[in-house]
Symmetry: D4
Subunit: 230 residues, 8 copies
């Protein structure tokens, strides 16, 4: 079965078909994987793809990856804030434009996960951070960021209100990302998630709490469609 | 015990002390009371107070009240949208200023409960309705409503995001009222409640879902303090 | 203030800016509005827009609308399954392609809300119904529906598993709509909502339970971007 | 853009408008911020304001702040129980009166956050601790604390019942703060939060679980209005 | 098997052993039973016991019972507020003393279920209604009701705070009954239930929401032990 | 495409493959289907299968079915308690043995759904009703029902404790069915569901609340395996 | 005010009235108290009472207590499993009888908290551990433990089913204690709590998750009443 | 009482009857047991049984077990991924066939718990890992694993959608195991649990989150029945 659409590793089946369908190799979620599993998947997969993305990677997990490929041709880069690993060549040309906006400084890690993933996929990204609605002039002073965007990613914890306001200002699709930032009745992001699902703004859809990667994927697909790179 | 601080009715003890402490007679919550209980409480209480407020009153309950006092000196008025009953003299002079703002048309019943209660307590009220944040120009075009206010009541269902934005625009205390307006994951107002509790705006506190009355009470106490009518 | 960006009705501010920004007049949510409010908003708004969409409309609400405009030039059409009202001219040219897929027959009302809204916005829609994953050959036999689509709307109640499977088969963005279809531990759509938010498929985002309208809006914006009608 | 209403730091936009509107510089929430971010915000902000408050600060975060400004003119003070940092001149004249009351010893950290914040804002504060309703004589013996108050902050975990009782004894607005104190079905403060939202006492509104800061802000605004310092 | 400890009815097995163990015949919960099932169980059971209690009985269910036994020796009495049916001889001597206290008028139905059940079991009951903690003088003025009690049942909806206060005033066991009275975030009694489970008062245990019957059973067993009627 | 594995109805795709795989034609869930949809599916499907089962059918829905096929060869039978419809020939030989046990009389509808479905599938069923654990002698007196069983279905609402006890007495697989029977903190079956999922008994698995049908399907598959009718 | 009914410590008001009312000095909950607070409360309180109980005490907290009173007359004893501290003379005569029963070995810490507290209060206790209902012969073989009991405490985590079975076997009040033992959908004791609140057994009431102390208090009050030591 | 059906250890009653009824000795859950309790139970139990299984065992707990029996005849083996301990002779003949399938690499620990337990019980097991539905070709390419199976265990976290698809492909009973794998709104496995309980596939029942052991037990009982080893 040499032509199978996945790499068989026993504990994992690295999906080769995903790149054919979606245009980017299967992204690896480090969460819940052992160091040994991670390095084994990466070493097998990189032979078939030229680039890899590893998400939700702890510093300790990255250290294991770094060591495993030290002295080899496999280059990796770790973005600590975003807990993201770039492996191989992710420096290609960027197309279109996605804005990544976040409500507070504590939301930056998720916003960076979104921004860096979108860039890895090949989208051009512009960032606007700490523009929560309680000081709305910060947002209104910076609406230029939305010019020429094909889609906007809005990241917010606590009250999760930012997407509702941004959604009213833009004409393109908005991907809302609740974060687990907050305390007490934020219930680890549940409050922000519910706010976004119940937003009165139109042209808005939501991904899982802290799922910057998922938002980037969706935004990149939209950006690609808009640019015409089908 | 003729000097007791309450009227004993067996199934109820109408609290006379509340007026002494708070400055307004105990307000009657119609929810869960039978027609017979309602009319009995009202007829006993009105002899000791000059005015009464009955909240969460169905049209059917009001009909029973109206009939019970038809032909007597006890005058009542029913506000159907707000499910509120005014009994006796609630037309006194209004002091200070409270703004009552709501996000959508479906929030009007709760906003009206808040506004009419605040007026009954003796506050001057100015209303601004349907200024949800998804079309934020509607709010920004009307910020004059906040001028001279001592407090602002903000009523919103669905995403409950309006208080966070209003809170950033005003210098006085904001009382946020989530409503049960919405569907699906609004979970009958839970989404809006959590949004408000997690608001990044400062000078904001929250009352129960659909509790326009409670917001009005709190706002009136603040308004009264500001006016100096201590 | 004759040039205001909204129509002032006291209990409502019909937002005229939305059409300028999004390309379609503000859609009216009938839920929680009285018959009087509905007809008043419609009669004022239709003078400024050529078309209107009213969602979550009960048969009784539509009857009031129909009566109010009987004998006038304002034409309306009611889609009972989708609880949707078309007012004015919504028959324009359709662009691109959106697939609307649903898991079971009981999900059809939400799928139809999505499909009819998308058509009203101006997108071409193709439908595929009752292809839940428990009999997956029904889906796999019909993957042709996805050909040429710029986006896919997937509607499912109960286990909400369909988007995860469809997401793996397509290269374009997927908008997932959980429905309140089910009983017991479906908790009125919560189960399906959580399934979709936690989907392992990429290029997928989620709207509120039963929010076919919201999915259609998002899908139409994507479709429009893809077609190049910016 | 030298006159912008915020300080641009990339990861943060320190809001200068907040002081103009509310009368106190934007308070910094340390939760979720890195040491580097904290010290950078503080060093930039303190140049434009004369005083700063940092909330939810761990001892380790404060140590980084202390070190960063050691040897400079910027003076800071850490209140470990309250996890609060005073920076600059917060010793100004105190006005009016706020009572801060808590139910149990384990609620003291949140009560102290409230009390110290209110004092930083410029209110005079009087404290009454460990007067939970299960030994109600402790509260009834100390009602003098409420004399002359313009508002009362009541902090309670576990059953969260104290605000309901205090609310019946006072004529001024009450700000209720649920705490995460408790175990089992307290669900980290949810029980106390729900109790307070459903309180039968009037003139009571609620802030987020453990949000002593938020309660203090609201109480200070009320106190300021009452004193007439508008 | 004529000596079995239950009456076999196919759809039910009326438990005869319960009376031997607990001292009172198995109580019948009408909820979820058809009229036919109810009358069949009653007609079979009453032959073996001299008395029966039927709880959570709708007026319509009672009407079926009444009709079924009209003209027979089986006497029944319906307490509409408490939705309770007495069948046969429940007028025996009452022992000891139980106080039944409730917070608001809307809690009376559950309090009456408790009181009437306890009387049916054979306990002497004294009632004190509408003494919620927001007007605490109403409770403090009536503490005489607790004199000589062997146990106290406290019934409260909304904030459910009353048991915490009563628990601090008495030396005997307290049975707390949350009710579904309230709206919004009372979540049909969940708020009151959590309050009671987290009460700081000692000597307090809790039964299900609206379970006046269960509280009465527990209280009667305690009262019986105290009186010495073992 | 005349050989497709399903019948295309537009709003539905009746799955013909299910019978090939599972041995019984696709069962129709009436919940959420219109009368028109129901009768259309049935009339098309019965031509290809000899028998049909319709679950969660209201009396009103059955009436529509009955009328639609009155005078035709299609015979149907309605079991009102179980809300179940038999269509066509379901009277075949029964194999093996399944015991269906329920805790209370109010659980009988779900137990009957389970029992009648299992019989329709072709299993022999023995019933034991109203043997809740609070009077455990009723269960212990009837353990003979388990003799020769290949599997046992245990149905219980309220505390849902019966499966834990039965599971300790039998050697064969147990399928536990929580029901929505109860009030207050039963939260419509959630309490019973959680009890069963956390059961200490081994050889036990759980289906959705009120899902008697699902339990019967699973039990029948097990029974069939045990009898050897593979 | 030397005759106050509490000891004033600023951060605490040790309640002296509780002993007068309930017959045992206020019990100290170590949870959430600092070592300094604990030792200060104990040193002040023990001068006015002859005995003290400290619950939910970590080994580290006890070590601080031990050190603080080393070399003094104040004797303390730590029960590590139960996280309980005895201080002073708790060795008095034991009255009546309480049975403490638990479902599994992992429930023993809570059962021991209950048993040791009840003994400290002055009740005689008999223990029966690991008699979960999945192996019901272990319970049925040991029913002698209930002979002569005035009340029974039943402790169970996971499915929480044991109280329902025990409740059917005994004639005296049962106090049910859910524990946080379990995993997955036990949700830290919520499953067991709901099971117990919905128990079909009569003469049963419930305390908070893991609240062995609370159960012991209630049980001791009942036992004392039964013995006649009023 | 030398013939008792359990071994009395005070804190535990090791159940000997379970082996007689179910065919395998009582399995020991390490969770919540001290090292001392574990080794004491094992040393007593192994004398009466020839084999033992210990589940949810941390590496630290196993180390204590290993040390306790070092140098004795009692042989043990630790499976770290599955947190499972084999003690004594578990190498017997394997019967029938069970397939264990999991959705992602992070689900392997629970899948291994299931597989290794089923093998210990005496079933033959075949594994298929990382076949989540988002890349459904990986599952469809491997359906041979289901050939000859008597039952299938499907393990999945995150969206928990795999059982719904597998259920449609097989004719034998499916045991679904949700795992706590995921983040954000997976709520530690709740999302996957609800998905499975609401699955549209038939012949499917569910066990607790992460309960690989429970699934294995149920599957083994079914496998044993199918093989005829009754």
């Amino acid at each position: 079965m040499p032509n199978k659409d996945y790499i068989e590793l026993g504990f994992a089946k690295y999906d080769l078909k995903r790149e054919k369908i979606k245009g980017f190799p299967e992204v690896i979620l480090a969460l819940g994987k052992s160091n040994k599993q991670l390095t084994e998947i990466i070493s097998k997969a990189i032979k078939r793809t030229k680039k890899l993305l590893v998400t939700k990677t702890t510093a300790e997990q990255y250290e294991a990856i770094r060591k495993a490929f030290a002295g080899t041709k496999i280059k990796s880069k770790y973005f600590e804030t975003a807990k993201l690993v770039y492996i191989g060549d992710l420096a290609g040309k960027k197309i279109g434009k996605i804005a990544v906006v976040c409500a507070g400084t504590a939301d930056v890690p998720v916003a960076e996960e979104a921004g860096l993933c979108a860039e890895a996929f090949g989208s051009r990204v512009e960032r606007l951070y700490d523009v929560g609605v309680a000081g709305i002039h910060r947002l209104l002073d910076n609406v230029d960021v939305f010019k020429g965007c094909n889609t906007v990613i809005v990241v917010a914890g606590m009250d999760g209100a930012l997407p509702s306001v941004v959604g009213g200002l833009i004409s393109v699709p908005l991907i809302a990302v609740p974060t687990s930032v907050g305390y007490g009745s934020s219930f680890k992001g549940l409050a922000a998630l519910l706010t976004m699902l119940n937003s009165c703004a139109v042209g808005l859809s939501v991904v899982n709490i802290d799922n910057g990667f998922g938002a980037a994927y969706q935004a990149h697909l939209i950006n690609k469609l808009a640019v015409g790179n089908k």
